[in-house]
């Protein structure tokens, strides 16, 4: 297992689709959460995903990360059909995720959380941890990206909310080789920490080798970070706008009229 994933050349040219979601559906019991999602993520792009609570954003992210299996539809990664039956499988395709709940282990030290799933191990049949190397790399990396923690040996339980969030984002940013999925990476963060995460994501995006999907409720952040914004309403993508071709006002207007249309559909169906 490599300690530091080497930046590979973009396997597909910038702008070509790296991930295509076609007609993906998902139900939880009687509840249809995703009703046919069509979405394209292009190489080197930052795609913002907005929508109400319950619109299905997190569910979509969890399907892309391999945590949930979709019921219908297909995923194409660089043009090839893929199906992830585990988080490990998605990760092996270079997809990393920051979940809303952060997925940190309170009882593990910072450096082990940072390397969770990508531990540095010594050669041999038994995967012995190279703790010294992991500590060193963790210190270096957190220094590079200006994340302050009391110590890399401090348990995650000892960190503040913002610090924990920074560790979770840093873990995914560090390991992502192809696609980075961020589910509300800035929630509950102070201004300084938000800035730090935004810069981290921007740096990664400008390298052009990783494509990013980010869910956030803060439109100012999204307009700063994203190339394109997709709106999810009722389990579907209803609006797809390039950020430089739209404004916050226009997007809001589009969302309102889309809601109105949906409402009318429901009323007509009821009549």
């Amino acid at each position: 297992m490599s300690a530091d994933p080497q930046p590979a050349e973009p396997p597909v040219p910038v702008g070509a689709p790296v991930l295509e979601v076609r007609g993906v559906t998902k139900r939880f019991g009687a509840l249809a959460v995703l009703r046919g999602i069509d979405l394209v993520l292009r190489q080197g792009e930052v795609l913002g995903l907005v929508g109400d609570n319950g619109a299905g954003k997190s569910t979509l992210v969890k399907i892309l990360s391999g945590f949930h299996a979709q019921d219908g539809g297909e995923l194409l990664l660089e043009g090839e059909r893929v199906s992830f039956n585990s988080v490990e499988a998605a990760r092996s395709h270079g997809i990393e995720t920051v979940y809303q709940d952060l997925a940190l282990i309170p009882q593990l030290p910072v450096y082990q959380n940072l390397f969770l799933g990508h531990e540095v191990t010594r050669l041999g049949p038994i995967r012995f941890l190279d703790k010294r190397e992991m500590r060193k790399l963790a210190r270096q990396y957190l220094d590079d990206i200006n994340v302050n923690v009391p110590s890399v040996d401090a348990e995650a339980a000892e960190l503040s909310g913002g610090q924990r969030q920074a560790i979770a984002v840093a873990r995914a940013v560090r390991a992502a080789r192809k696609i980075l999925l961020l589910d509300e990476p800035l929630a509950a963060m102070g201004a300084r920490e938000s800035r730090l995460i935004i810069n981290l994501v921007k740096d990664l995006a400008s390298s052009g080798r990783v494509s990013i999907i980010v869910i956030d409720h803060n439109y100012a952040h999204l307009f700063e970070l994203c190339d394109r914004i997709n709106v999810m309403q009722g389990g579907r993508i209803t609006i797809d706008q390039q950020v430089h071709e739209t404004s916050l006002e226009e997007l809001t207007e589009l969302m309102v009229s889309s809601y109105r249309r949906q409402l009318e559909e429901v009323q007509n169906a009821g009549a």
Partner: protein, 325 residues
């Protein structure tokens, strides 16, 4: 300075029971002198501590996972029966031992698979396998004692190693403690155990194969209990079908708790479990020697377990409260 000392005790949970065990040792040495420190007394303490420790050090892995194996005590008793039956049926001894160990692993795998696939709480799964194994021994032995156990009382190296030497069992347990301790604290698998027990959903989201980790830990716990069960049977030379494994498992869980493992998941120490077993062994041996009745021993075990658990919980709270410093 005081804070630094506290921090060491907070994170090195086995330190507290080590200090208590040393104090206990000193107390009994003062009260009973050479009767207590003599080889006879200490080997009898080791005799109490061995089975408890063997089961406890495997159990810790499951407690860290926020699971439990109540059948490990019965596996400890069941495994030598399998060896005995296989050997009586004419199989060579080595093969009989291998089959017995495989049977132990199979019990662990069944415990694990029922727990993770059918979502039966491990408390219930292993409660059931505990009864089943007890029944299998009673039925299979036809209520007759198993005796003599192959290897038992021999002077060959293999016989001495497998339990005839009076220190063999406790040395096996110490060796297993070292192996499992390294597994939990120094390997990727150990990180996965702590991650799964500390934050089940988070670990799964981070790509830890939580089900596989759990099943393997059930297998390891059973295997260790079965292995030392064979050594214990060779040591005593007879098998009593009426022995009930729950006696062992309750002491073993007590030893884990005394050793600094809370049952809340995500935290635990293998070394602590062995220390806990030794503490119970010394208590049983020492109290007998200073003329306290066996009945009083149970009261003391209970008191120690409660105090240890209260301390574990307080330590966890102190860690949580030190947040953000």
């Amino acid at each position: 300075m005081g804070r630094r000392v506290l921090r060491v005790f907070l994170y090195q949970r086995e330190l507290t029971p080590i200090v208590i065990t040393i104090a206990l040792f000193a107390y009994f040495t003062i009260r009973a002198g050479s009767t207590f420190t003599g080889s006879l007394s200490l080997s009898s303490a080791a005799g109490y501590a061995g089975p408890i420790g063997a089961i406890a050090v495997g159990e810790v892995l499951l407690l860290v996972l926020a699971e439990i194996d109540l059948s490990a005590g019965q596996v400890f008793l069941f495994c030598p029966w399998v060896m005995y039956w296989a050997h009586n049926d004419g199989l060579p001894l080595v093969l009989a031992i291998v089959i017995a160990l495989l049977a132990a692993c199979a019990v662990g795998a069944i415990n694990g698979l029922i727990t993770v696939r059918l979502n039966v709480p491990s408390f219930v799964t292993t409660l059931a396998t505990n009864f089943i194994l007890y029944g299998v021994v009673l039925v299979g032995s036809n209520d007759a004692q198993g005796s003599p156990i192959p290897l038992s009382g021999g002077t060959s190296f293999i016989s001495q190693l497998m339990g005839s030497w009076k220190w063999a069992e406790i040395l096996w347990v110490v060796a297993i403690t070292i192996v499992l301790g390294a597994l939990l604290t120094r390997t990727r698998f150990g990180v996965r155990i702590v991650a799964t027990g500390g934050n089940l959903v988070g670990a799964a989201e981070a790509g830890v194969p939580i089900r596989r980790v759990k099943v393997w830990c059930f297998v390891i716990c059973s295997f260790v209990a079965g292995l030392v069960g064979i050594v214990d049977a060779v040591k005593y030379g007879t098998l009593d079908p009426g022995n009930f494994g729950v006696d062992y498992i309750l002491y073993a869980i007590g030893a884990c708790v005394i050793g600094g493992t809370a049952l809340t998941g995500g935290r635990g120490t293998v070394l602590g479990a062995l220390i806990g077993a030794i503490l119970i062994g010394l208590l049983e041996d020492g109290l007998t020697l200073i003329g306290v009745s066996t009945n009083e021993f149970f009261i003391w075990v209970g008191v120690v377990i409660i105090l240890a658990m209260a301390l574990n919980v307080q330590f966890d709270r102190l860690i949580a409260r030190s947040r953000g410093r």
